[in-house]
C-alpha cells in the first residue's frame, strides 16, 4: 500500500484541519468528532455538541446565516447526517457561501459499538448532497485529497459538502462535558470576533 492510499483516521484528518484554522468557527458532532476536536485542538471558536443527534449540520447552518462574515466548518458523522438528510436540502436552498460540511464517514455508529450505517452498504452521502442541489461536493479517501479539499473549503465560496472516508475507531481521551460552559465560551468568542 502506498502512503497516498492509506486509510485516513479521523484524528489525523482533524489535526490537518486544526493546523489551518485561524478565525473559522468549527461545529462538531456529538461523540467522536467532538472528543477528537477537543483533544487535538480545543479553542473557544469550537462549538461542541452533546445531544440532539442529527442537528449538528443545522446548528452550523444557523451560525453561518447569522454571521455571514465568518467561515463555518461543520464536522458531522455519517450516522448523524443520515438522521437529518433534509438538512442537505436546506443548505442547498439557503446556499450560504461561508458554510462547509465535512462528514467523517466511518460507515458505522461508532459511539454505540460500531453497528454499520447505510454508507457501509450502498448509500453515498456525497451523491445525496449533489441530489439535494449542492454542487460543490467531494468524496475524499487519501491525505492528499483531503489537503486539497481543505484548501478549497477554507479558501473558496461554498456551500461545500466533503465526505471523508475514515477508519473505524473510537476517539482517545475523556471529554469534559461542561455543556453550558462550552456554549457560553463559544458565544463570547464569536461575539468578540470583529465583523468583516
Amino acid at each position: 500500500m502506498t502512503p497516498e492510499s492509506k486509510t485516513l483516521t479521523r484524528a489525523a484528518a482533524t489535526r490537518l484541519l486544526a493546523e489551518r484554522l485561524t478565525r473559522e468557527v468549527v461545529v462538531s458532532n456529538l461523540g467522536q468528532a467532538s472528543l477528537d476536536l477537543h483533544t487535538i485542538a480545543d479553542r473557544p471558536l469550537n462549538c461542541y455538541t452533546y445531544g440532539a443527534m442529527g442537528q449538528c449540520s443545522s446548528i452550523a447552518l444557523g451560525i453561518a446565516l447569522a454571521r455571514p462574515d465568518v467561515r463555518v466548518v461543520c464536522l458531522d458523522g455519517d450516522g448523524s447526517l443520515l438522521m437529518n438528510l433534509g438538512s442537505l436540502c436546506t443548505i442547498a436552498t439557503e446556499a450560504p457561501r461561508n458554510y462547509a460540511l465535512v462528514v467523517w464517514d466511518n460507515e458505522v455508529h461508532q459511539t454505540t459499538g460500531g453497528q454499520p450505517t447505510a454508507t457501509a452498504a450502498r448509500s453515498s452521502l456525497a451523491a445525496m448532497a449533489r441530489g439535494a442541489g449542492i454542487d460543490k461536493t467531494a468524496e475524499v479517501r487519501t491525505e492528499e485529497e483531503l489537503r486539497r479539499a481543505y484548501d478549497r473549503i477554507l479558501g473558496e465560496d461554498g456551500p461545500w459538502v466533503v465526505c471523508v472516508k475514515v477508519e473505524k475507531g473510537r476517539a482517545e481521551g475523556r471529554f469534559d462535558r461542561d455543556v453550558v460552559g462550552h456554549a457560553r465560551r463559544f458565544m463570547h468568542a464569536l461575539a468578540a470576533l470583529p465583523a468583516r
Binding site: G51, Q55, S58, L61, G62, L65, N84, T90, A183
Partner: protein, 171 residues
C-alpha cells in the same frame, strides 16, 4: 369570533422583541403569520424540511448572537422533543416557539387530536413555559413578558395559538 388581525399581532410581538430570524414548516394557521414576515425585508424565514431542523438552526442563530423563532403546528412539536430537551434545555439555548394548536376545540380531523391533547403536557414535561392566548388582548398582555422571561431564563418558551384566537381550520 377570531379577529383577522390576530396574525399581524403575533408577527409584531416577535419583531418588537428583536426577532428577525425565523424557521418554519408551514401549516394553514401559521402561514397567516408568515405572510407578514415574508413581506418584511428585515426578516429572514428559512423553510426547513422537519421542525427539529429548525430547532438546530435557530440554536445556531442564538449561539451567533441573534434571536430566532420557530413557527409550526403542534404536530411539529412532537418532531422537536429530543432536540429541545438535549440541546436547548441542556445547553440553556433560548428560542421562541410559535405553535398553532390543532386537535383541540372545533377539530375535525381525528388524526390531529392525540397530539393536540398532548401539547400542553409535552411543553410542561420539558419545563417550557408557554402562553395560550384566547384573544388579541391576551396576546398583547402576555406576549412580551413571555419572550422576556425566555431570554432571562435562557430557555425556550412557546406561544400556543388556539382556535379561539385564530379561527382554527375548518374541515
Amino acid at each position: 369570533m377570531a379577529e383577522p388581525s390576530w396574525s399581524k399581532h403575533v408577527a409584531d410581538v416577535l419583531r418588537r422583541n428583536g426577532i428577525r430570524m425565523f424557521a418554519t414548516v408551514p401549516d394553514y394557521i401559521v402561514s397567516h403569520v408568515l405572510e407578514h414576515l415574508w413581506a418584511d425585508a428585515e426578516c429572514r424565514v428559512v423553510t426547513v424540511t422537519r421542525e427539529e431542523e429548525g430547532v438546530g438552526l435557530l440554536s445556531g442563530v442564538w449561539l451567533a448572537g441573534r434571536r430566532g423563532a420557530l413557527l409550526m403546528q403542534n404536530s411539529g412539536l412532537g418532531n422537536c422533543i429530543n432536540a429541545l430537551g438535549s440541546l436547548n434545555v441542556a445547553s440553556q439555548i433560548p428560542i421562541v416557539l410559535v405553535i398553532s394548536h390543532r386537535g383541540d376545540l372545533g377539530e375535525f380531523n381525528p388524526a390531529q387530536v392525540p397530539m393536540g391533547q398532548a401539547t400542553g403536557h409535552i411543553l410542561d414535561a420539558l419545563g417550557i413555559r408557554y402562553i395560550r392566548p384566547g384573544s388579541i388582548a391576551e396576546l398583547e398582555t402576555q406576549g412580551d413578558g413571555l419572550i422576556k422571561l425566555g431570554y432571562t431564563r435562557s430557555l425556550p418558551v412557546a406561544i400556543v395559538l388556539p382556535s379561539e384566537l385564530t379561527g382554527g381550520k375548518q374541515g
